[in-house]
């Protein structure tokens, strides 16, 4: 069951990536044809395509973390796939696809630095890890939000999203300043002085902060736990009975 569901999810993800690639490359070819008479550096142009697709593929995967929950979950339930397997395959397929696309495209794309005149060593593991962590954070957030919305079903999410927006705004505007005033040492403790450091040095300094790792891992792991809990309780009597009342 796991293998079947994994194959189903990977096919869907890579099919979308392939379609995005075709669309992107097609668009770039059209651009090249338009500017061919004005003289175009094809070496630079080719690498720009790769860099562009690197970012596009990561964005596509982030979008897929939002869109592969409800439909795939429903299709899995229809075909007798337990929700645990459904969720595990969603995690593995998305994160592994991210790593694969990154591993393929990033080494090619970093050659752009020569043409773009960037002097930073983009092959530095700090930059690589930082890039992956950023994408993983977005994917994890996407999974949590889409699972949470799916748990509530129907239009309840509109109500919940509005409530969340109001709470977040009130918190940011009124609660945060109070906390900051009450605990002034916090800001000093978290303050990192980058001074004249370049990007790599700044990332290195950031990586040295234990708080960075705590907050980063929390922002990846916590949403995944929330997503797992939401998907675990989807369509089971313990939670949905009460929550579905909102959905009506």
């Amino acid at each position: 069951m796991f293998n079947a569901m994994m194959r189903y999810r990977l096919t869907a993800i890579w099919k979308t990536l392939a379609m995005v690639a075709v669309g992107f490359f097609g668009g770039m070819v059209v651009v090249a044809l338009i500017f061919i008479k004005k003289g175009i550096d094809f070496g630079n142009f080719g690498l720009t395509i790769v860099t562009g697709f690197l970012f596009l593929s990561q964005i596509t995967l982030i979008v897929q973390s939002f869109t592969t929950t409800r439909k795939a979950f429903n299709f899995a339930i229809l075909n007798g796939i337990p929700r645990k397997i459904s969720f595990l395959t969603q995690l593995v397929s998305l994160f592994s696809s991210q790593l694969v696309t990154f591993a393929i495209l990033y080494p090619i794309a970093i050659h752009n630095q020569i043409f773009a005149g960037i002097k930073i060593n983009l092959l530095d593991p700090h930059i690589t890890v930082a890039f992956i962590l950023v994408v993983w954070t977005f994917i994890a957030q996407g999974l949590a939000i889409s699972s949470f919305i799916t748990l509530f079903e129907r239009k309840a999410w509109v109500f919940l999203f509005a409530a969340w927006l109001i709470i977040a705004t009130v918190y940011e505007r009124y609660i945060t300043p109070i906390i900051t005033r009450m605990l002034p040492d916090w800001t000093d403790y978290f303050f990192v002085n980058f001074e004249q450091a370049n990007v790599v040095s700044a990332i290195k300094i950031t990586f040295d902060q234990p708080n960075f790792w705590i907050s980063t891992l929390t922002s990846i792991v916590a949403p995944l736990i929330i997503a797992g809990i939401c998907q675990h309780f989807m369509q089971t009597r313990r939670i949905t009975f009460r929550l579905k009342k909102f959905a009506r």
Partner: protein
Amino acid sequence: MPNLQTTQLIKQFGNQIVLDDINLTLKPNTIYGLLGRNGVGKSTLLSILANHQTASLGEIKWGDTVLTGRDHPLQAIYLMSEINLFNKDDKLKTITKNTALLQGSFDHELAEEMLTAFDLSPKKKLNQLSTGYRTIFKTIVALCVPAEYVFLDEPVLGLDANYRSLLYRYILQAYESRPRTFVVATHIIEEIATLVEHVLVLNDTQLIVDDDLENVLAKSYRVSGPEELVRKYCTDLNILDSQQMGTLYTVYLYDTLPTERIIPDRLTIEHIDLQETFIKLTNKGSEAHV
């Protein structure tokens, strides 16, 4: 294959009770007809049994195991309903391929035969199909999966008479080639009377009939004649409805006729068909107490 059983099942949406105290046992290798008027909870009941929705209260058992909601025998139950759980942008062949992948096996031969018979191209996308063709396609998939309990919720929705007839033939063919349990929820009662073995009737949130078709038809009578004689003969019997047309008084019964009672010469007693029985059983204001 174990029985699928519900005990005191209740489903409530807000303050509205949709299903109340449903006690039902679905047995293997039987074709059930699930009948009920609009909005009585047929689809809700099927989706609860298939674990697409949850019950508010009550128990669902798979054999002797009480199901908690997370250990449902999902692979053994397949629900085809009007809700579309397929990706609308997918081609039909992609959907069947994905279904086969997740189900582990799939009757491709029957699927191809049915697609040809219904003039459906597998290269078409689901969103290019009309309501009727979408229903046909979903039913084709339901007949080709290896599930032991297949719930068909309105499998003839939007189908013309020719296709309905063809579809019933394929349901029977699928059943004969591999016996399994089908629960067919429909409003076209006279047509499924030749298909089903067991009848379930939902009315006003409750299951009012759960019996073999043979027994249901055997208990359904129309008694007509002079009012006095009809009333006397039908005393203490379960009367569903009564009509007066001139001097002719007609009573609809759902009961076993007492053998010891002598039938007066001027009385006419005849069986009624499933559709008429259903109408009399579920008509609001009639004297239905089964």
